[in-house]
């Protein structure tokens, strides 16, 4: 058995089941040629001399408002980040709302204010949109879709084919905060400090790294499925592998506490404002220094390197053991973004 008769929640988990669905049902219909080939975060579209990057994302997070953000900020950051890690400067956004009858007007206003604030902070403009209202019970309060367009940064040409043995893997900060903040809010877990979502834009991190564009091989914001999913996808069908050092991976102590309580591996948990970057070893420290000068990159760290261990992500554990890091399978934490 390797197909299901119906869509399961796991098909949206960002793991292998999602990947199967996309490969079988989307790629076969739309991705056999053109910009969708290889499923990049954003489509690179050549228009005369200019290259534009185009991306879209939908948001169904529950609760709508959570420590550190809300669905409005998330909807801006999610799409802006997909455009940014495709090597572009984000410019324009669309905003489509699907609203359930009965949503409090004050909640909608707060969320739209958040969209506005987040867009202003980044310098992107909402330029088109749509509003639909469905009857009570036909969606859960508010779903948002955004699409974004950006302008390609010249010289910043990243891609999996550029990754070489000896390259270095960098994170811009602690991992898994967003997913754990949502779960702590949903499960009403009481922590020593309030755990905030990391929702934020990575566009300044991309611009900072662009200074060493030649050595930057790959960029991705680890959302659903966490770094395990991103790194697993990177090594899949490639001649290299990745080894991570557990002691070097930065985690927020409160995110770790939530993960311990819920029995979740933080490597599988989503961030919404972090970046993973693979680059040549000689520029790693420079990028780290540049990132640490920014508030969103203050926790930047080297966490691993590219090896010749074909197709495998290996974790060197705290106590000196080694284990495989696998792509998460199906449903882990539904509706966290």
């Amino acid at each position: 058995m390797n197909e299901t008769e119906r869509i399961l929640l796991g098909h949206g988990g960002g793991g292998k089941l999602s990947r199967n669905l996309i490969d079988r049902e989307i790629v076969t219909r739309f991705g056999t040629d053109g910009p969708l080939v290889g499923l990049p975060d954003g489509a690179r579209l050549k228009l005369g001399e200019e290259t534009l990057v185009f991306s879209t994302d939908s948001f169904v997070v529950s609760p709508l408002e959570f420590p550190g953000g809300d669905i409005g900020r998330l909807a801006v950051h999610g799409t802006v980040n997909d455009v940014s890690v495709s090597g572009a400067e984000p410019l324009w956004l669309s905003l489509a709302l699907i609203i359930e009858e009965g949503l409090e007007m004050t909640v909608l206003q707060r969320i739209l204010d958040s969209v506005r604030e987040a867009a202003d902070e980044i310098g992107v403009k909402v330029v088109t949109g749509d509003t639909k209202v469905v009857a009570c019970g036909q969606c859960d309060r508010l779903f948002i879709n955004t699409a974004g367009i950006g302008r390609k940064i010249p010289g910043l040409n990243t891609g999996l084919d550029k990754i070489k043995q000896g390259d270095v893997v960098i994170t811009s900060g602690t991992l898994g905060d967003h997913g754990m903040a949502i779960m702590a809010a949903r499960e009403k877990l009481t922590l020593n400090n309030e755990l905030l979502s990391d929702t934020g834009s990575v566009h300044r991190l991309v611009s900072a790294a662009a200074e060493w564009a030649d050595g930057v091989r790959f960029m991705r914001d680890p959302t659903r499925g966490g770094i395990a999913a991103v790194l697993g996808e990177i090594v899949e069908d490639h001649s290299f592998g990745i080894v991570l050092k557990e002691e070097k991976i930065p985690y927020n102590p409160d995110a770790r506490a939530v993960a311990e309580v819920l029995g979740i591996d933080l490597m599988h948990v989503a961030c919404e404002g972090r970046m993973l970057l693979i680059c040549a070893p000689e520029i790693a420290e420079k990028i780290i220094a540049a990132w640490r000068a920014l508030s969103e990159g203050a926790g930047a760290a080297i966490i691993g390197e590219v090896t010749s261990d074909r197709g495998r992500v290996i974790l060197k554990t705290l106590i000196g053991g080694r284990r495989m890091v696998d792509i998460p399978q199906g449903e882990l934490l539904p509706r966290i973004c």
């Binding site: 089941l17 106590i319 495989m324």
Partner: protein
């Protein structure tokens, strides 16, 4: 987290690992090896997660036991839960149960087809749901060992106190000591040391194993779930094996008391009584389960909805039973990583994160 980090310290780990290698050397001079069964699924997971197997000497083998509650839950029980969901009854469960194959389908399939299946992190969520919809029926899937039993049955006490009549529990609770006896007396199972569970022991107390160790003369150490706990547990077992001793040692004394947790044990005794139980892949073990006492039959879903948790026909090729008894390693099953993967599991050991096959698949392929 400070408390946890102390038990993940790499310098301490290194020093204990050296001791383990030294003891294993002595063992090998005596022409002996160590075949240690970690009984509990949380041990299995922790061993895989920290790569402990890889740092052990060759003559120290860790064999995963039957202590993953999802893995030993009968196919017929899953079938019953699916049937309840199909009858329009709300089924509330921990997430691990969703993908466990019954005779032909899973609860995730039932949910995809419109069945009312809710995943929760706390059994109390079931009480909350039942209160919110007084005209609907709610069934909590009561699986698990001594650790999980008290929080699950506490919902019955709560429901009783709040006069809720629309909530019940479908029980398939299991007990560890009778399973240990079954393993120790099974001649196919060649284990010469037991790493005993941490949290189950916190409930039942260290004394609960005294008779077992006395009777079967197998070295046994109660160990916690952190990597240093496990390494210390292994070291303790090797010390007994090299010294030809067979004792019960409580390495996890910071949590496990001799008498266990009285409040939890009283709660179990008040609501439940022992009964024979069927373990998936292993068969019936006498007095190894817990069922609700007669006076609580209103909260017993099998009685309330007249549904059987017996019978069931899991895939015959699945060798989870042999994996659970430590007779084969997961990758020796012909289905492993072929037809049986965490995404499309054939057997229950591939489902739960605590399942031996899932842990093998995830961390050691």
């Amino acid at each position: 987290m400070k408390y946890i980090d102390g038990f993940r310290n790499h310098l301490a780990a290194k020093s204990i690992t050296e001791d383990i290698h030294r003891l294993a050397g002595e063992l090998s001079e005596q022409n002996k090896d160590a075949r240690i069964m970690e009984v509990c699924g949380s041990h299995t997971m922790s061993i895989a997660r920290y790569g402990i197997r890889q740092i052990l000497p060759e003559n120290v083998r860790l064999i995963s036991g039957p202590g993953c509650p999802v893995c030993v839950t009968d196919a017929a029980y899953i079938d019953a839960a699916i049937e309840l969901a199909e009858r329009g009854i709300h089924v509330v469960t921990f997430g691990d149960m969703l993908k466990v194959p019954g005779s032909s389908r899973t609860l995730a399939d039932a949910r995809g087809a419109g069945g009312k299946v809710h995943v929760c992190y706390s059994p109390l969520d079931a009480v909350k749901l039942a209160k919110e919809s007084p005209n609907e029926e709610f069934v909590f899937l009561g699986i698990g060992f001594e650790t999980t039993v008290p929080p699950v049955i506490s919902i019955i006490k709560k429901a009783k106190a709040e006069k809720l009549t629309n909530i019940s529990v479908l029980t398939a609770f299991k007990l560890v000591p009778p399973a240990l006896e079954a393993l120790a007396s099974d001649t196919d199972v060649a284990v010469n040391g037991f790493l005993l569970p941490a949290h189950v022991s916190a409930i039942i107390g260290a004394d609960a194993y005294e008779n077992f160790v006395e009777k079967y003369k197998i070295p046994s150490v109660i160990a916690g779930f952190e990597p240093l706990d496990i390494l210390l547990g292994i070291k303790g077992l090797l010390e007994q094996l090299t010294g030809n001793r067979a004792e019960l040692v409580n390495q996890y004394a910071r949590v496990v008391r001799k008498q266990g947790n009285r409040i939890a044990l009283n709660l179990i005794h008040d609501l439940l009584e022992p009964a024979d139980a069927s373990w998936r892949g292993i068969g019936t073990i006498p007095q190894s389960g817990l069922v609700l006492r007669k006076e609580f039959s209103n909260f017993d879903a099998s009685k309330k909805f007249n549904i059987s948790t017996q019978g069931g026909a899991p895939d015959k090729r699945c060798r989870c039973g042999d994996v659970l008894r430590g007779i084969i390693f997961p990758d020796e099953c012909p289905l492993f990583d072929r037809e049986c993967t965490p995404l499309f599991p054939v057997g229950p050991c591939m489902v739960s994160s605590e399942g031996s096959c899932a842990a093998y698949y995830k961390y050691s392929r």
